[in-house]
């Protein structure tokens, strides 16, 4: 029986050229995964007939969206797969998946007991127990939690001085900068302030929801999305554009909200930019004037995260980092690191995750850089654990390379 006849995701444009299959990192490493063409446009033909044709193996898709970058016909392959998981995935999310996905519920709890949590999560017996009981792979180094959140630090140390700057933006910090690595948020504030830009927080920022989408918690993700879009609207009305640091959050806010969660963001979309894009445009147009530190030297390898690849904005990061005198930047061949957010933490995905990342780890080893430059927090965990090279966010690199005081004088 025919249940539907049309799809919003233009699967009819698929020409069966199979280019998506040649770039899929999962297909090359996990024979259980049918691949983007079969899971996406091919499967959609059947699913539109009847939902019983939904296959559970679609969960192996890590939503890197490399298939969409490769598709010459503009088919939103990964969206088709995620949409099918939303519409037909029958299994309720496991406790583990809910814990991994609820970054903004787990954050405050884990942060309150950060020293104990970080210590315990590093112990072999605890890792073993988590492996057996909830299925978080024992080989994984778990992200550390910070005892002081970024927001707490900001309220205490930065908020009062922000209004004095002539230009104002709202900072969407995301869960990672808030709970796991507040230094990134501090670097962001330092760089923005140096350029004469005041940093405000959004009213009631919520998690972007990407991990909830990946783990089938659609109602919770949609609620967060609506709250966020409302906060963006309010910020835009007050004359403040929104600047983000995480590529995955950004892709989610811009693309996944309207496409998957059906939360309309058309009126605020053009007011949201990723920090590297924001700074590149500002410096290129002469509006922002950097003063670089003398004697800065670094040899960095740039890894473009999958979702940055999908946004098509890696060029902003590259051009921005190339402006730094003393920076030797090597672009790594674009490959997925294998972590894909919560995907690689799951016991059943660990081996595939590491196999996917191997070409990247090998290419980093061949370059032997001082550090890897990368905008994505989960790539950072994966690369630091698996390639043994530190990973720095471009914002933190700028905070080091800029002469912050002289820049501040020039941009006053």
């Amino acid at each position: 029986m025919q249940e539907n006849s049309i799809s919003a995701n233009n699967f009819e444009q698929c020409q069966k050229c199979s280019l998506c299959e040649t770039v899929c990192p999962v297909m090359a490493n996990n024979p259980k995964y049918p691949g983007p063409k079969r899971s996406g446009p091919d499967g959609e033909r059947y699913r539109l007939k009847n939902g019983i044709f939904f296959e559970d193996a679609l969960k192996y898709c890590l939503n890197c969206k490399r298939c969409e970058v490769a598709c010459p016909s503009g088919v939103r392959i990964a969206d088709l797969i995620q949409q099918a998981r939303i519409d037909f995935g029958r299994k309720a999310p496991k406790l583990r998946d809910m814990m991994l996905a609820s970054t903004d519920q787990m954050g405050p709890i884990a942060g309150a007991f950060a020293p104990i949590v970080n210590f315990s999560l590093g112990l072999a017996p605890v890792k073993g127990l988590m492996d057996i009981t909830i299925g978080v792979d024992r080989h994984r180094t778990l992200p550390k939690y910070s005892s002081e959140t970024f927001v707490h630090w900001y309220r205490k140390n930065a908020e009062a001085s922000q209004a004095a700057y002539k230009k104002q933006i709202s900072y969407y910090h995301g869960c990672y900068a808030n709970y796991n690595y507040p230094q990134l948020g501090k670097d962001f504030v330092a760089v923005m302030n140096a350029f004469g830009i005041g940093v405000q927080l959004l009213e009631n920022e919520r998690c972007c929801g990407v991990a909830k989408i990946a783990n089938g918690m659609i109602a919770a993700a949609t609620k967060d999305a609506k709250t966020n879009v409302e906060a963006f609207r309010k910020s835009v009305r007050q004359g403040r554009d929104i600047v983000t640091v995480s590529t995955t959050c950004t892709m989610t806010l811009l693309e996944e909200y309207p496409e998957l969660l059906k939360v309309d963001n058309a009126d605020v979309k053009d007011h949201i930019s990723l920090v590297e894009q924001f700074l590149y445009k500002g410096i290129a147009s002469g509006e922002l004037k950097p003063v670089w530190k003398e004697g800065f030297r670094a040899r960095a390898a740039y890894h473009c995260p999958c979702h940055q690849e999908r946004l098509g904005w890696g060029i902003f990061t590259i051009e921005l980092l190339r402006m730094i005198p003393g920076m030797e930047l090597i672009e790594l061949e674009s490959n997925c690191c294998g972590i894909a957010g919560t995907y690689g933490f799951k016991k059943e995905n660990y081996k595939v995750s590491q196999a996917i990342g191997k070409p990247l780890f090998d290419s980093i080893a061949a370059v032997a850089p001082d550090y890897v430059a990368c905008e994505c927090e989960t790539c950072k965990w994966q690369i630091e654990m698996s390639a043994g090279v530190p990973v720095k966010n471009p914002v933190s690199i700028l905070a080091e390379a800029l002469d912050l005081e002289k820049t501040a004088e020039l941009n006053r």
């Binding site: 280019l19 040649t22 770039v23 969409e68 970058v69 490769a70 598709c71 010459p72 016909s73 503009g74 445009k281 290129a284 690849e309 999908r310 946004l311 098509g312 904005w313 060029i315 590259i318 051009e319 672009e331 061949e333 674009s334």
Partner: protein, 191 residues
């Protein structure tokens, strides 16, 4: 952003020209809507320091007199990509390099002059397997450069299947595609 050469299209023609020019020391960028299977040349191009804008699409160009000044892409929005020279390798109909209405054939990106038979009844042969004339159409060139409203655009070089007379839908056109790309690259290299 400024480059020596900007290549529009990442297929066989685009990647051949880009890899050649980049390895000769020119700073090149390729805007590739969808990735073609030319993994080797893509890897070589990137390893030589070329900039690949993968999954992006040129949507407009700004002309001044007989020159193409800059282009904009779908994903980079209001950022102008400038280059001294441009190679247009967007292919024929399937890849959107050429398009047709009931009464005309056109080049949809820049509105370049195209070479085709105005008598539409001559575009095709009713027999499916017969040689099809519409596959022979393409953009007009003069000394390897494109024409727009009869004016030669001195820094815009079409290459590959967008040219008249080259079509992979009728037999193997790889050699002609590669040759046209090498010719365009050589013309830019000589400048």
């Amino acid at each position: 952003m400024k480059f020596d050469v900007l290549i529009i299209g990442g297929g066989l023609a685009g990647m051949t020209a880009a890899t050649k020019l980049q390895s000769e020391g020119l700073r090149c960028a390729v805007v590739a809507e969808g990735l073609s299977l030319h993994n080797v040349s893509r890897r070589e191009f990137c390893a030589a320091g070329g900039t690949l804008l993968a999954g992006d699409k040129v949507v407009s160009g700004r002309f001044s007199g007989d020159r193409l000044i800059s282009v904009r892409t779908e994903k980079l929005g209001d950022v102008d990509l400038e280059a001294d020279n441009y190679i247009l390798a967007t292919g024929k109909y399937f890849s959107g390099g050429l398009a047709a209405d009931m009464d005309r054939l056109y080049e949809p990106l820049f509105g370049l002059d195209v070479e085709y038979d105005e008598d539409r009844s001559k575009w095709f042969d009713a027999s499916f397997s017969a040689p099809q004339k519409f596959l022979e159409f393409g953009v007009k060139v003069q000394d390897g450069r494109a024409l727009k409203d009869g004016v030669q655009i001195v820094n815009l070089y079409p290459a590959g299947e967008i040219l008249a007379g080259i079509s992979s839908a009728q037999g193997d056109a790889r050699e002609s595609v590669i040759n046209s790309a090498i010719e365009a690259a050589a013309a830019i290299g000589r400048k």
